[in-house]
C-alpha cells in the first residue's frame, strides 16, 4: 500500500483551513480520520492503528475566564443562617422572641438558637437594625446561608 503524501498533505491542509470539524476519507485500503476544534485549533489526524504516535500541536492559549462565584442573591439587610439545623426563635424559656417585626436588634446580639446534633448554638446577628420580617418559622429546618430575617433599609446599619 503506497501513501500519496502530497495528496494527503493537500487534503489535510484544505481540511484544516475549512470550517469542517470532522473528516473521514477512504482511499483504497487506507483510511484517514481527523478532527479539528472549530476555534482556530487543529488536531493532527490519526490513521487507524498502524501509523506512528499521534502528535497534537500546541494550541494557542486564551486566557481563562475566571470570575469569583456569584454572590448570593440576598440584600445586605438580610440575616442568614450560619449553620444547618433547626432554628428556634425563643432563646430563653419564658422570654419573648428577639426576632419580631418592628423590634430593634444590635449587631452581635443573640437572636436565636440553632439546634444541630442535639447541641444548641447561639445565632448572633451580623447586622443591626429594625426587623422588617421574620423569614422562618420557629423550629423550621434551615440550611447554611438561608435568610432568617430581613431588616428595614436603614442608614444606621452597624
Amino acid at each position: 500500500m503506497t501513501v500519496n503524501k502530497g495528496k494527503l498533505r493537500s487534503l489535510l491542509g484544505r481540511f484544516a483551513k475549512s470550517r469542517f470539524r470532522y473528516i473521514d476519507v477512504k482511499d483504497g485500503r487506507m483510511r484517514i480520520m481527523a478532527v479539528q476544534k472549530p476555534a482556530s485549533r487543529a488536531s493532527a489526524g490519526a490513521a487507524t492503528g498502524r501509523e506512528g504516535p499521534l502528535t497534537v500541536p500546541k494550541p494557542s492559549i486564551p486566557s481563562p475566564e475566571m470570575r469569583p462565584p456569584e454572590a448570593m442573591a440576598v440584600t445586605p439587610t438580610t440575616i442568614r443562617s450560619p449553620r444547618v439545623g433547626h432554628f428556634y426563635n425563643v432563646i430563653k424559656e419564658g422570654e419573648p422572641p428577639v426576632l419580631l417585626a418592628g423590634k430593634s436588634i444590635a449587631k452581635g446580639q443573640v437572636i436565636g438558637i440553632i439546634e444541630a446534633m442535639h447541641l444548641k448554638y447561639e445565632v448572633k446577628a451580623d447586622l443591626g437594625g429594625v426587623v422588617e420580617e421574620l423569614l422562618v418559622e420557629n423550629g423550621e429546618a434551615v440550611e447554611y446561608g438561608q435568610p432568617l430575617a430581613r431588616l428595614k433599609e436603614s442608614s444606621e446599619e452597624a
Binding site: P53, V56, E65, V84, E143, Y144
Partner: protein, 446 residues
C-alpha cells in the same frame, strides 16, 4: 432497603451515587457549598441542603452541618463517596452515634487501615506478603531505620504511617542520607497528618501498581472482583486505570484475589474496598495498603464484571446478603479509564478552572462518561480538578485502545484546559501500547 441517603460529596461521584439511589428507589439528599449551588448533583438529588461557603473545610468537611443536613431531611444513611470524609473514622463513628448508617466499613477498620504501619503488621500476621521492611512504626528513630536498611538493602523508602498521596515519604539511596531524610519525612508527616510516625520499606524502583476490588456483606460473605492496573500516575495521582492488567497471568490473578480476601477476613472488612499491591516482577506481589472506600476508578471493574458497585454498597448497607458468589464473578473483555482533569498539561498541570462554554463528551458503543460537567457549567477552583472520567470497553485491549483514541479525539471541551492531550500522547506511546509500563512511566517516557 435504605430509605434516604445523604451523599456527602460533590462532583462526578455524587452524581454517580445519586443515580444508583434513584435506580433502587432510594431517596437522595445532596449537600453543597455555595460555590456548587448550580451543580449537577444538586439538580439530580431529591433534596439539597447548603452546608457552607466554598471552602471545603467549611462545607464538605463540615461534620456538624453534614450530620445536621441528614437529620433535617430525615436521612437514614450517608454515603461518603471518595476523598473528603470517606476515610475519616471519626466521621463514621459520629454517623453511628447519630443513628445514621455509614455506607462503608466499621470505624475501627477505617482507623486500622488508615494507619499504614498497623495495616502492614496486620497483613503480615494474616499471611499476606508485604514489602520487606519494618514490622511497624520506627520507634527507635534513625538508628533503628539504619539497622533495618542495612539488613534489607538500599534503596529504602521511609513512609508516613498516617499518610498517603506521597506526603511524608522519602527515598534513601545511601546510608549517610538516612538521618536527614528521616527528620524531613517526620516533619512533613507531622504537618500533613498530625502524626510523625514513620515506617520503612524496601524501595522497589520499578513496580506496577495492581489493586484488587473486594466487596463483603455483613453476613460473612466476600468476593473479589478482579484487579485494576493503575501504573500510569503523575505525582502519585492516578491518570489511567485498566483491567485486566496486561502483566498478570490467570494464576497471578487467582493468587492476588486470594490475598485480597485474606486481607478482608483479617480485618473484618465490610462493604466495598480495594487492596493495593505493588508488583515488583513476574509473580512478585506485595501488599501496599487498603483503601476503605469506593474508588475513583471503580467503573473499570464495573465494566468488565457487569456489576453496579454502588448498588451493591447500598444493598450491603441495608443488611442484605451478597447476591453473588465468587464462582458467579465473570470477567469479560478489557476496560480502561482516563481521568480528565481541568489542568493545563503545557503549563506544568496548573489548575484550569473557569466556565466551560461547550462540553461534548464522546458517545457510541461501549463508552461510558462519568461527569458532572456540561456546557455552561463553571469549574470551581476550590476542589480537586477531576471533571470527567471516560471508561471504554473492548473485547480485548487492542480494541479498547482504539476505542479510547477515538473517544479522546471526539471529546470536545471549550473554555478550560484539560489533560486530554496528555492522554492522546500516552496512547501513542509504543510502550504503553505494548502494556510495558510501571509507576515511573510518565517521568521516564514523557
Amino acid at each position: 432497603m435504605l430509605k434516604k441517603v445523604l451523599v456527602a460529596n460533590r462532583g462526578e461521584i455524587a452524581v454517580r451515587i445519586i443515580r444508583s439511589c434513584r435506580e433502587l428507589g432510594v431517596g437522595s439528599v445532596a449537600v453543597y457549598s455555595e460555590a456548587d449551588r448550580d451543580s449537577l448533583h444538586v439538580k439530580l438529588a431529591n433534596e439539597a441542603v447548603c452546608v457552607g461557603p466554598p471552602a471545603a473545610g467549611q462545607s464538605y468537611l463540615n461534620v456538624p452541618n453534614i450530620i445536621s443536613a441528614a437529620e433535617i431531611t430525615g436521612c437514614d444513611s450517608i454515603h461518603p463517596g471518595y476523598g473528603f470524609l470517606a476515610e475519616n473514622a471519626g466521621f463514621a463513628e459520629i454517623c453511628a452515634e447519630c443513628g445514621l448508617t455509614f455506607i462503608g466499613p466499621e470505624p475501627q477498620v477505617i482507623e486500622m487501615m488508615g494507619n499504614k504501619s498497623q495495616a502492614r503488621k496486620t497483613m503480615m500476621a494474616a499471611g499476606v506478603p508485604v514489602v520487606p521492611g519494618s514490622e511497624g512504626v520506627l520507634t527507635g528513630g534513625p538508628p533503628q531505620a539504619k539497622e533495618l536498611a542495612e539488613e534489607i538493602g538500599y534503596p529504602v523508602l521511609l513512609k508516613a504511617s498516617a499518610g498517603g498521596g506521597g506526603k511524608g515519604m522519602r527515598i534513601v539511596y545511601e546510608p549517610d542520607e538516612l538521618e536527614k531524610a528521616f527528620d524531613m519525612a517526620q516533619l512533613e508527616a507531622q504537618a500533613a497528618f498530625g502524626n510523625g510516625d514513620l515506617y520503612l520499606e524496601k524501595y522497589i524502583e520499578t513496580a506496577r501498581h495492581i489493586e484488587v476490588q473486594v466487596i463483603a456483606d455483613h453476613h460473612g460473605n466476600a468476593v473479589h472482583l478482579g484487579e485494576r492496573e493503575c501504573s500510569i500516575q503523575r505525582r502519585h495521582q492516578k491518570l489511567i486505570e485498566e483491567s485486566p492488567s496486561p502483566a498478570l497471568t490467570d494464576e497471578d490473578r487467582r493468587r492476588l484475589g486470594a490475598f485480597a480476601l485474606k486481607a478482608v477476613d483479617a480485618v473484618g472488612y465490610r462493604n466495598a474496598g480495594t487492596v493495593e499491591f505493588i508488583m515488583a516482577g513476574p509473580g512478585e506481589f506485595y501488599f501496599m495498603e487498603m483503601n476503605t472506600r469506593l474508588q475513583v476508578e471503580h467503573p473499570v471493574t464495573e465494566r468488565i464484571t457487569g456489576l453496579d458497585l454502588v448498588r451493591f454498597q447500598l444493598r450491603i448497607a441495608s443488611g442484605e446478603p451478597l447476591a453473588i458468589k465468587q464462582e458467579d464473578v465473570d470477567f469479560r473483555g478489557h476496560a480502561i479509564e482516563f481521568r480528565i482533569n481541568a489542568e493545563d498539561p503545557d503549563n506544568d498541570f496548573a489548575p484550569s478552572p473557569g466556565l466551560i462554554k461547550t462540553f461534548e463528551p464522546p458517545l457510541g458503543p461501549f463508552v461510558r462518561v462519568d461527569t458532572m460537567a456540561h456546557s455552561g457549567c463553571r469549574i470551581q477552583p476550590f476542589y480537586d480538578s477531576l471533571i470527567a472520567k471516560i471508561i471504554v470497553w473492548g473485547i480485548d485491549r487492542h480494541e479498547s485502545l482504539a476505542r479510547a483514541q477515538r473517544c479522546l479525539m471526539e471529546f470536545y471541551i471549550d473554555g478550560i484546559k484539560t489533560t486530554i492531550p496528555l492522554h492522546l500522547k500516552i496512547l501513542g506511546n509504543q510502550k504503553f501500547i505494548a502494556g510495558d509500563v510501571n509507576t515511573r512511566f510518565l517521568d521516564d517516557e514523557l
